[in-house]
Amino acid sequence: MRKFSFVVLIVLLFVGLVFAETVTLRVIQVFTSPLRTKVLEEIISKFEAQNPGVKVELISPPYETAYQKIYLMVSAEEPLDIVEVGDWSLSALASMGKLLSLEPYLAQSQLTGHLVPGVLDAARTYKNTAYLLPNAIYVKTLFFRPEITSKYNLNNAPATMEQLLEFCRAITKPEQNQYGFDFRGKGYPTAFIDIVMTSFFDDIDPNCMYLKKDGKLIFEDKRALDGINFYLELFKTAPKDSINWGFDEQVNSFVSGITPYLFQDPDTVGLLNELLGSDRYRTAPLPLGKGGKAYPTIGFAGWGITSYSKYKDIAWKFLEFFNSPEINALWCKDYGALPVDMRVYDIDPYFKSDIFHGWTVMFGDTQHYQFTKYPLDNEAWSEWNELHESTMQQVLLGKMKPETALKTWADFWKKAGLGK
């Protein structure tokens, strides 16, 4: 009996040791979807295979409530090691003080040298410190339909905004239900307005889309008015109905060929490949404006580490693994986002393909394409989107003068502490 007890004790000890060595990383994602979760699980199992003794537990709350859940869990310091952070939630999460600064890790990592220009700056939105490592980015580019535009002898993509307007005007024939520009009037149209407006500038602050390099607000500059007026001209080449268009309507109109020029994010690629086929549309870099430049912004999502995590180093290892070129390619392909590692565009056949031409040109030409950031760390940001949308709609309907809108916007941001 004594012997038996001894054996049991030894076995228990052994089992205990084995389990004690297992580290469990708790990871929570935001943009949960069945397809995405599958890829995520695949990547996790690869990581686990490479790192015996590490187990990754994935938490996938439904998307609608994910942000709220993460805010609550993190603020209550519930066991979480890695949290998914998007550009829109970064400042809220970081301001709680529960995210770890990744700067010490980044300083030593080899990854930083290969990142797409502007990604790290974008990640440093809050207090100039990186609280996340982005693994997928969104940048808008120009999509166009050669088979439609070639009917009007327009075979190339417009290189400048002037050209874009000229092309759009040339093909707009309302009686044939043919229009030019694929306009966005509803549901966060902010980026669309800004791409056009800032193209009239050549001195935008690389840290803030709404500031000039001299620290003044762009809305008080004469060129902003030119920008809006130009935007109104573009609207004239779009169906009137587009004032009520969101993402779905834009894609629908592009696919049906009614409006063959579209500014959109890379997540449109997957949709278009399915609805149109990859040979019936192309991408080109954003047209350059009067200022000779274009100012795209980088939307991003990635992983952050909680400041109270017990396994910070292992968590970083996971982040680095996730951003290695092969894994990054696998991840972004499914996600419909752009990889953050420049090497992916050279090695992966999918991202090497012609469809990504628009983006690769922009990433390679830092002279004309200057990535800038939205003031996402400003508390007024969330209110801004609603104000921007409704005032712009009033301008489009002729109920408000562009000058009045610009003044409203300037006053809004001044009150929020932006600009001199």
Partner: protein
């Protein structure tokens, strides 16, 4: 006896707990939040700011426009729902062949989710590739497509039309049940006295089902006021605020502005308005001053 009391209390506890947590607690909490500055940025450290949220809401230049839109939205939605629902109920009260199937089809909209209806109709009414425009053009009724949802002149009319389509079945169901309870003898007596169809409707049917009409109208007014689904699914209150009503504005404040304090303040305002309205309405209706 004491034991019995204990058991009674124990058995009632779940009900009280349920009401407390589901109804009372959120209401009180919403009231508290409405006096706080609570946004995503201040989730951890909300602070009391008195009536600041209410002040910002009421001094917003668009606020009175939103109120006006809300009144228009409720009045016309409920009016047309009542009229068409009543007509439908009258048609359905007498049995005919295939009535069950017909009722099933007619009542179908009521079973759909509001957001789904919003999305469905936003495609039907789309000014560019909407099916309704297509039909109207092919029938040579119009030459240019109508921007139902993106022209401020038509947008409110369009969302009300959708809401009427959605709400008719509810009135029909409620009024049909009431119609079936009207004693047959009254009609027979009236017929002997030589009453016309119109007289029977105005002198017998409507007075008999008046309580049902009163309560249904009240219910619908409250629901329609708190029913942002259709507008949110089609226009989100646009274009340029043309269809913005109080409940849609509340959603916009939560999802766009992430300002939970301000949204709660608006919620409390809505509750207050509805409470005042319901009391006034019931007093008038009870007095019999409410005539249709």
């Amino acid at each position: 006896m004491k034991r019995l009391r204990f058991w009674i209390f124990l058995m009632l506890l779940p009900t009280f707990a349920l009401i407390f947590f589901i109804n009372l607690y959120p209401l009180v909490r919403g009231g508290v939040i409405s006096f706080q500055r609570l946004t995503v940025f201040t989730l951890n450290r909300p602070r009391f700011i008195g009536f600041e949220n209410y002040r910002t809401l009421i001094t917003d230049p668009n606020f009175w426009n939103i109120i006006l839109n809300t009144v228009v939205w409720i009045f016309f939605s409920v009016l047309f729902q009542l009229v068409f629902g009543f007509i439908l109920a009258l048609l359905l009260v007498k049995p005919f062949k295939g009535r069950g199937l017909y009722m099933g089809v007619v009542f179908y909209p009521w079973a759909l989710s509001g957001f789904a209806i919003g999305l469905l109709w936003s495609w039907i009414l789309n000014g560019q590739f909407g099916i309704l425009n297509d039909i109207l053009i092919k029938l040579h009724l119009i030459k240019q497509p109508i921007s139902f949802l993106s022209d401020p002149r038509f947008a409110m009319f369009s969302v009300i039309m959708i809401n009427v389509w959605y709400g008719i079945p509810f009135f029909a169901i409620m009024l049909l049940a009431a119609l079936q309870s009207v004693p047959k003898e009254l009609y027979e007596a009236a017929q002997i006295d030589g009453a016309t169809m119109w007289h029977r409707l105005v002198r017998i049917t409507i007075p008999c089902i008046k309580p049902a009409i009163t309560s249904t109208v009240l219910l619908r007014i409250i629901w329609v006021m708190n029913f942002p689904d259709i507008i949110y699914g089609t226009t989100r209150g646009g274009p340029a605020g043309a269809t913005n009503i109080l409940s849609v504005q509340m959603i916009n404040i939560v999802y766009y502005q992430n300002n939970f304090g301000k949204a709660s303040a608006l919620g409390i305002i809505i509750t207050g308005v509805l409470l005042a309205f319901s009391v006034a309405y019931l007093i008038v209706a009870e007095k019999g001053a409410f005539e249709l």
